[in-house]
């Protein structure tokens, strides 16, 4: 009964969203028949997936863990809510819940899953004991022990996030994404010459723990995580021209990759999934512009993949490392398109729905870590940008539009292959937003700052 109600409620919400989408797309008079792309349907189409209800029972503490238990419980509860895989039951009246697990009570409240936790003091830190209960069967489905350092430790929140991700895996079999960080740029202002600049910042997946990584006071773009989450590659202008650098996130030791091509703008780096290759773009080079790869093992062997008198940029690898999606300006200035090609170069095909003379604007591709989807953003009407996903199963002919408000750019996949972080521009300013591709839920994780080019890290393991 409870499940039916949830299902109906979800459908009501989807219906409202769909109506808004129709109203939104019908309103601008400038969108004429010729602006429509033949054979492509755009829309806010969400699977009406049923979300099971999950309750988090207040965590208890032992051996000096009681003080911190409520905070750990809050982090876990928020992580599970942000996973967008459950309807979270947490607004229970005080004194309602006893220490003993009462399956009948949780069943009456509509819960399918119940999480209980105990935080125990252990040495300098803590151990978090978690149990996932199947309320319907009235039994413990999974249990685990997680080491949590003292809150003064830099890894404290991340260690709790890792426990949350394990709960997601227990309940769904899929990876979570809360033990991860997002790298992005934030704009600063240089007083000496009134020029703007960018620094790399990091923020945890739940919007906490904002830290600045660089201090160059110069132009900088496109931070990109290494597959093990230990390094970031980016393009910095501090030598006067954009060159690719790589920085260790912990030690902040930086090195410049050798500019073996000579003159040109070295931009948009991305690591291959095995971490052995860096792909990037050289623009306006003396000879050929386009996408190149750099071999870390040999510290050499620059390979030229694609390009020519046109511009190819923003490469992104498929998770098996065999394919590459990238952005191209080969059809003209105002009609950038997303194309696919083998990772070692070769024949490229358009993924975005290019139609000659009516090409549309599609940029900033990012290939899902699950391999099935490529996200990018596009101008649905001139000057308005929205986040889109193309399903490779149907050659991208059906684009799903994930945003409907303001302007939205530069999507990047979470390690769960289900969430995207992007830059949103609203009437109050810019911010970092996260959208769940399945439910369409959107939340802001950093609002009111001039942010850009976010890149979501892989799942971060204990260091």
């Amino acid at each position: 009964m409870r499940g039916m109600t949830m299902y109906e409620r979800l459908w009501c919400r989807l219906a409202v969203v769909a109506c808004l989408a129709v109203a939104g797309s019908a309103a601008p008079a400038s969108v004429g028949a010729q602006d429509q792309i033949p054979g492509v349907s755009l829309g806010l189409v969400y699977t009406g997936s049923y979300l099971p209800a999950l309750a988090v029972q207040p965590f208890t503490g032992r051996f000096g863990g009681s003080g911190l238990a409520p905070q750990v419980e809050t982090i876990v509860g928020d992580d599970l809510r942000y996973s967008d895989r459950f309807e979270i039951i947490n607004d229970l009246p005080g004194g309602f819940v006893r220490d003993e697990v009462d399956y009948a009570l949780w069943d009456r409240l509509g819960a399918v899953w119940l999480v209980t936790g105990t935080l125990e003091g252990a040495g300098d830190g803590y151990v978090l004991l978690l149990e996932l209960h199947d309320v319907v069967y009235g039994e413990v489905r999974e249990r685990g022990r997680f080491t949590v350092p003292d809150p003064s430790d830099a890894d404290y929140r991340m260690s709790v996030h890792r426990a949350s991700d394990e709960i997601v895996r227990w309940a769904t079999g899929d990876p979570g994404m809360s033990a991860s960080r997002i790298a992005f740029t934030m704009r600063g202002f240089r007083d000496t010459d009134s020029l703007t600049y960018n620094e790399v910042y990091l923020i945890d997946s739940d919007g906490e723990n904002l830290v600045r990584l660089t201090d160059f006071e110069d132009a900088l773009e496109s931070p990109s995580w290494s597959p093990d989450g230990s390094k970031l590659a980016y393009s910095s202008w501090k030598s006067g021209y954009p060159r690719i650098y790589e920085m260790n996130v912990d030690t902040r030791v930086e090195r410049m990759l050798p500019p073996v091509r000579g003159a040109g703008d070295y931009i948009t780096p991305t690591y291959s999934p095995d971490g052995r290759t860096l792909a990037f773009s050289v623009l306006g080079s003396d000879s050929r512009s386009g996408i190149f790869t750099y071999d870390f093992d040999g510290d050499c062997c620059l390979a030229y993949l694609s390009g020519g008198p046109w511009y190819d940029l923003s490469p992104t690898y498929s998770p098996d490392g065999r394919w590459m999606a990238f952005n191209t300006l080969r059809f003209g200035d105002a009609v950038p398109q997303v194309m696919l090609m083998p990772a070692e170069g070769g024949q490229a095909e358009t993924l975005s729905p290019y139609a000659y003379g009516n090409g549309g604007y599609f940029t900033s591709p990012d290939w899902s870590p699950l391999g099935d989807l490529v996200a990018f953003h596009g101008a649905i009407e001139r000057g308005r940008y929205h986040i889109l996903v193309a399903d490779l199963a149907d050659n991208g002919r059906v684009l799903r539009q994930l945003t409907s408000e303001g302007n939205n750019e530069d999507p990047s996949w979470a390690p769960d292959g289900r969430h995207l972080v992007f830059v949103g521009e609203r009437n109050w300013g810019y911010g970092l937003f996260v959208v769940d591709v399945t439910t369409g839920r959107v939340r802001a994780i950093l609002a009111g700052r001039r942010v850009g080019v976010p890149d979501w890290s892989p799942a971060l393991l204990p260091r």
Binding site: G284, N327, D333, A334, E409, E425, V453
Partner: protein, 199 residues
């Protein structure tokens, strides 16, 4: 002048004094000697000549100063023209007519100033993807370089760099700001002291 005004009255006074009184007239003073008058004139002439030379030199110096100032003004104007920005249409790297007129002025100056080298910086407005805007900025800088080299200027006199949307000239999310930010900027990287105005 002073000399002549003084000498004539003195001579007259001497003559008048000699015609009066009963005393035997003293021997008349020797008439003013010819050589004396000549040297006086020569003196006067040399003064005049020096005066004229000084005046001529002053006039020449003034003319030179004026010419130098004029040239400095022309060089400064040439430098301003070299550094003047060109602007682009939304999402386009094509050279607009107003930009082409300005670039032709730059060509004339660059031809007269062979030592001058330029860095051409391409910029984009904030709309659209950050990375696409890097490419668009590079395309704009490249379009400017090709326009300039199309007039026979050597390719190696120009370097290009894109800043994408990262260095706006004017803050603000409106068409006025965007129009200012879609631009090509010019930085003189060599020969800044060897700029010659267009011939």
């Amino acid at each position: 002048m002073i000399v002549r005004r003084f000498v004539v009255p003195v001579l007259a006074a001497i003559l008048v004094a000699g015609a009066c009184g009963g005393d035997p007239p003293p021997p008349p003073p020797p008439p003013p000697a010819g050589p004396d008058m000549d040297s006086l004139r020569a003196y006067q002439d040399s003064v005049r000549a020096a005066e004229e030379a000084r005046r001529r030199a002053e006039a020449e110096a003034a003319a030179r100063r004026a010419a130098e100032a004029e040239r400095a003004r022309a060089v400064a104007a040439a430098r301003t023209t070299l550094e003047a920005m060109v602007f682009f249409d939304y999402d386009m790297s094509a050279i607009r007519d107003d930009a082409a007129a300005l670039l032709r002025q730059k060509v004339a100056i660059l031809r007269a100033s062979p030592q001058v080298r330029l860095r051409i910086e391409g910029h984009a407005d904030e709309r659209g993807s950050t990375e696409y805007n890097l490419a668009l900025g590079n395309r704009r800088a490249e379009a400017v370089r090709q326009f300039l080299t199309g007039f026979g200027l050597a390719e190696n006199r120009f370097e290009i760099v894109s800043f994408g949307e990262g260095r706006p000239l004017q803050q603000g999310s409106n068409e006025a700001s965007w129009a200012r930010n879609r631009r090509g900027q010019f930085v003189i990287t060599a020969g800044a002291t060897a700029i010659n105005p267009a011939q």
